[in-house]
């Protein structure tokens, strides 16, 4: 343990660049493991990990579970009802349960920003943030960066655009921190009222013209638009959103340039992204999914594994 500066992975805001580099490099090592006939290594034998999901999640939860099992950890899953969270209960009981169960690591998804930091202050276990409200989703950003690195061979000097509802996104913030630390440039593109106030202070550019952004970018990270925000006075309509921000086949064709398309999932095909784009040659969306397992193995290994030695 202790191969990284921080004991926990709460967010990329406080993760140094060299640790991000190490996490990505180790991610590629595990990616090789995932290509072997036997995809399991004994690195975390005897470690107890609990996956605490206070919010619905399919991809992230399965990805973590797979990563944990492939490292031979003992895995417990815990899903709390949304009602316990809405009453504001949960966090303290969670803390006490983790103590009582003598867990080595807690992977937590929670709707409240800051909840993972709070948890980390009160437990001995290593805490990994699997998404805390509209704050950070560091493992997603790490897998995004790994996927970009896989495609381009580098991160430094690349132009990466994040497109969509930035205000309600946890993926955006973690990507902003991570990408900039690794030397990439970041532009945000979305409806102006869904760009959070003062975000330029984090060093990013903001441009609401998607066509200009496509011309500029090496890769687009397209965020999911929550259907519940449509037609309630926030986003006027699907057709209007598609007209001005949608990553449509027609729009990409018009630009006649090579551009990498990413999406953290789950996608609303036909809303923020066309099916043909998502399934097309420029998309690396399924690579992101595979890299997601590899990067989570890397995170778990570097936070919980032995100090020295080769990946088994």
């Amino acid at each position: 343990m202790g191969s990284l500066k921080n004991k926990h992975l709460i967010g990329l805001e406080h993760t140094p660049a060299k640790d991000i580099q190490k996490l990505i490099d180790t991610g590629f090592t595990f990616r090789e493991v995932l290509d072997r006939p036997i995809k399991k290594v004994p690195s975390l034998t005897g470690k107890n990990i609990v996956n605490l999901f206070f919010e619905n999640s399919t991809r992230t939860r399965i990805s973590f579970e797979l990563a944990e099992k492939r490292l031979s950890a003992d895995v417990t899953n815990f899903s709390a009802s949304a009602s316990s969270v809405s009453k504001g209960e949960g966090l303290k009981d969670t803390v006490q349960n983790i103590h009582a169960m003598k867990m080595d690591c807690a992977v937590m998804r929670h709707p409240v920003p800051g909840s993972c930091l709070q948890l980390s202050k009160f437990v001995d276990a290593v805490v990994i943030n699997a998404g805390d409200g509209t704050h950070e989703h560091p493992t997603q950003a790490l897998l995004d960066m790994m996927s970009i690195k896989e495609k381009f061979g580098k991160l430094k000097g690349l132009n990466i655009a994040i497109v969509g509802d930035i205000l309600h996104s946890r993926v955006a913030l973690s990507n902003i921190y991570g990408l900039q630390k690794m030397g990439a440039k970041v532009t945000l593109c979305g409806p102006p009222h869904l760009i959070p106030r003062g975000i330029q202070k984090l060093g990013v550019s903001v441009n609401s013209d998607i066509d200009e952004v496509i011309e500029w970018a090496d890769a687009l990270n397209v965020l999911r638009i929550q259907r519940e925000r449509m037609g309630v006075g926030i986003i006027p309509s699907v057709r209007e959103y598609r007209d001005f921000f949608g990553i449509t086949q027609e729009r990409l064709d018009a630009h006649k340039k090579e551009i990498v398309i990413m999406h953290p999932g789950p996608m609303n095909r036909g809303v923020e992204i066309d099916s043909s784009v998502a399934d097309g040659d420029q998309a690396i969306i399924l690579d992101q999914v595979l890299n997601g397992v590899a990067i989570r193995m890397s995170i778990l290994y570097l936070l919980l594994g032995p100090d020295e030695g080769e990946v088994g």
């Binding site: 303290k92 920003p113 800051g114 805390d132 409200g133 959070p196 106030r197 984090l202």
Partner: protein
Amino acid sequence: MGKTDNLIILENGTIYDPYKNKKKAGSILIVDGIVKEVGKVTGSDNTRKIDCTGKLIVPGLIDIHAHFREPGREDKETLATGARAAFSGGFTRVCVMPNTNPPLDSPEAIRFIIEKSSGLPVQILPIGSITIGQKGQELSEVGKMVKAGAVAISDDGLPVQNGQVLRNALEYAQKYGIPVINHAEDIHLRNDGVMNESSLSTRLGLPGNPDISESVMVHRDLEIADYTGGKIHIPHVSTKRSVDLIRKYKKMGVNVTAEVTPHHIGLTEDKLTEYDTHTKVAPPLRSELDRKALIKGLIEGSINCIATDHAPHTIEEKEMDFIHSPCGMIGLESAFGLSHTVLTKAGASTEKVVQWFTKGPADIMGWNIIPFQIGEPAEIAIIDSKIRWTFKKSHIQSKSKNSPMIGMKFTGKVDGTISGKNTCGNLLD
């Protein structure tokens, strides 16, 4: 806290009257809780002598904005525990807000507070609600509440959204000479905000409450006050925008007064980086720019006084996460220390700080107070303006302990409080 000995002399202090802004060296003799002599006093051998050398003897402090939670949430605070907290902070008069359960929206409820609090060391003065059930619709029996002892009206944390209702209240309340206190916040602009909206709220991923949610409502209220001539009081001003508006309307001659809390002049949003729920308050802690504007507003007179917005909450409630835990912090025990530290650093004198805790609130309420009157019950605070001290949990007398001030270093302290036969504080224990 204990009963004073029969005879007590506050010896060799500096007696300061903030109402007349007059200061003189002297002593005060108190017999059975009644002021007997001021200036040069005669004592006997059995007189208890309190050495006040180097200290300021001032009238008891006044807080016009506190929450004592009784009736309804006696687990957080009661009139008795709230009074104990206030007394230890130098206060001898406290106005309590009507957001109890049931709310103070009737003369019966006002009488309950007055009867229940009689005999406490602090005089408790209830504020009645503007509307029935604080619902913002039908006016409460304002006249009957005033007759029963209400000193102002307010729907407390629930802003009167309907402009016509506020207009009615501002016009009607003029008959009774009391201020109308409206929590200035456009709830739609506040949205689901839990902290000041800024690059910091963006960084923390917390929903932001923009400064305009306050100033938009302040502006509306000032316009209605201007139009009606009513007496509007703006509680816990938190933004530069609001201070700018209040300054402008005061210059126009509008009958407006305003208060600021010790926490808004002492702390900023930067306290929130660890998601400590003790820093969650309404209105939220704002930026350094706002904090400086509030201090300037006090010093130039745009803001009239300091009020605590003492808001006790249980441990269980504050142990919840940042979104779900309730807004509010206690403040009576730390109010003078924090305010004095911040304001003297900004160039104000100790005497001026005392004024913001005495003359300022009294003028807002329209009270004519003549301090240290011979033959009247003593209402006195003794202040050490030089002492440096750390605010600790052990200083808290409130039933709740939700203070982000614990651990802060202050300069200046209330060393003792006297209210009639009751005394408390280092100097008097």
